[in-house]
Point group: C2
């Protein structure tokens, strides 16, 4: 098997962690017997924007759609391009045009990483947040009236479609069904957001009827956030609308101490277009250029990408390598984890464990 | 001074903790020299709904508006009345009709209460969430198209007005200005919610110009939630839209372990209508009727109410009594806090400390 991977490092530490992501990917290819054909692109970056006045070339859609997946670093360099320009001009275009309607993020306590929660140990917390990634609260429908006056009024629509809601629910139920606990939690707010959220609940109920073996519960988003802190062990697969999923998929990694190392998949499960895999962390201008960024998020993203491509053993191999290096850790780790290592030395250590597998 | 207080105990443990709230209030009245004229109402409860088919009598608005404040227990008994009926039929009516446009919630590490966060101590965390309480994401504007078909589409509007946004910001800036740190944090999501949230940011910036002595920062709601867990010591006054405020004001108390004992004020700062004070916890059907509910949230709500009414010493006296009882704690505490006390015995202990002040 040969996989064609579009590689977009982006900005800041994206450029530093990407080589380590590729090193892990190549080590896995050798160890598990597949080929990677990686092509690097310099767009979706501030440098590209400065030169061309736009984040992406006109032909990006045709160019990237031929790949099996997009391996992404981080985008954003606010001193040069405002965030809403760089993000809506790149990442959010990919999500929409490649119909990557699932945003998948693991929430997992890892060995060697200190959780801010008292008394939680690796194994205690291990779940997924499944976020709707194309509609809902992130619509661009709306506007402003009576501009500049005391009557000024701003309106923005949340839009949910049966197609959009049902397909994300189906993905989440399918995922729950494949897991040991077979437990799905829905994020809602139907007691306050009185039109869209009751609709969401209705579709969850309808879908639940088709998955007799999946246990379903729901929480309003306020108490659900509280429960991520109080009872992170309660969850298995959590499904949420675009905005609620955005919140939960930062809060979850925060609770497990992994916000700097967590990965994220922007997935088109129908495979009509490539999916995109990226670390959760951004371009981190404050530490960029120093060679000290933690590459684990990028490497873990490679694992998610391989899982999506069907190389499940290689995916597990990479995650296992990350866990064993973090567990024995010490000096090999980067400074954010209390070690003295660099981006390259930690990446190298993980790659050699993958190779030895 | 005599204060006319409308007392609405509501459902479940609301009925059990309210007597302790009143006991504390009366003890404070005696100790600090003011009068309380408390009138109890049986509506805004499932019992009332069962008898009358509605949550409130027709004349509730005229009846309640004459009071100086409303002291509220908890509403909701889902076995009998669906939550959206009981809540929209009572609490949310009060917020709207009495224009209680501020929802104020303290987030505070208390002695004797175990925080789920590792290594945090009382004094480390002490801030307020100021939530817009009448507009924003909680509008009832919208609807459903193509019902029952594959094209089914549901739309709900978020509506922000200059009046609504500016007055909540003004309240939050005023509060920040009165505090030692003079630090205001705004919750936004202008990188994703592209119409209403940039407007929110704009108004924050405009208001900031009028408060030179207040330090202002902002975070997107996803990373802000993460920072509540990772850096709760960063905050002083956090201001947020209706939905974001709802989330933050449950998450904050969860992080401090106080979700069962935190209070909340639904405030009309202009005093054109009465404000309403209530514990954050709900009616808790699972433990109702056993006499074991923790009355601290109701008693702390009495403290917030007195603060609002201008009895600041009495307010501080009640909070001080709560803290000293929690700190020495032991058996006096209710079971949820590791003691063997009852609702009445813990309430009595706190009242006697207030009286002795
Ligand atoms: C019950 C619900 C409608 C309410 C809200 O979301 O406002 C509650 O969560 C609160 O915070 O008081
Ligand atoms: C940058 C922002 C628009 C984006 C989002 O909210 O989707 C980010 O928070 C994410 O989760 O990938």
């Amino acid at each position: 098997n040969t996989y064609r991977i579009a590689v977009i490092a982006g900005d800041g530490i994206g450029k530093e962690v990407m080589p380590e992501g590729l090193r892990a990917l190549r080590a896995a290819a050798d160890a598990y017997g597949f080929e990677v054909d990686a092509v690097e692109f310099d767009y979706a970056s501030a440098d590209y924007y400065l030169e061309h006045g736009q984040m992406l070339p006109d032909g990006w859609f045709e160019e990237l759609r031929r790949f099996d997946a997009i391996f992404f670093g981080a985008v954003g360099w606010p001193d040069v391009v405002p965030d809403h320009v760089s993000l809506w001009g790149s990442l959010l275009q990919f999500r929409r045009h490649f119909d990557q309607y699932v945003n998948l993020r693991p929430v997992r306590l890892l060995p060697g990483i200190t959780s801010p929660l008292a008394g939680r140990k690796p194994g205690d917390v291990d779940f997924y947040v499944v976020r709707e990634n194309t509609e809902g609260e992130y619509s661009s429908v709306g506007g402003r009236m009576f501009e500049g006056t005391d009557r000024e009024t701003v309106i923005q629509d949340t839009v949910m479609t049966r197609t959009g809601v049902d397909r994300i629910l189906k993905y989440a139920f399918d995922l729950a069904q494949k897991r040991e606990k077979k437990h799905l939690t829905s994020a809602t707010k139907s007691n306050g957001i009185s039109i869209t959220m009751p609709y969401w609940d209705e579709r969850v109920e309808a879908m639940a009827g088709r998955y007799d073996d999946v246990r379903v519960d729901k929480f309003h988003i306020d108490i659900l956030c509280a429960n991520f802190v109080l009872h992170p062990d309660w969850f298995d697969v959590v499904v949420a609308s675009n905005l609620f999923g955005d919140i939960l998929s930062d809060l979850g990694p925060a609770c497990t101490g992994t916000i700097g190392v967590a990965p994220s998949g922007n997935i088109n499960p129908d495979r009509t277009f490539p999916s995109l895999f990226e670390p959760v962390h951004g371009s981190a201008p404050d530490i960029a250029g120093k060679g000290i960024a933690n590459p684990v998020g990028q490497i873990w993203s490679a694992s998610m990408m391989l899982d999506h491509l069907g190389e499940t053993e290689a995916a597990a191999g990479i995650l296992g390598a990350i866990e064993s290096v973090l567990a024995t850790g010490g000096d090999a780790l980067t400074r954010d984890l209390g070690g003295t290592g660099t981006t390259a030395s930690l990446g190298g250590t993980i790659a050699s464990v993958i190779a030895g597998a």
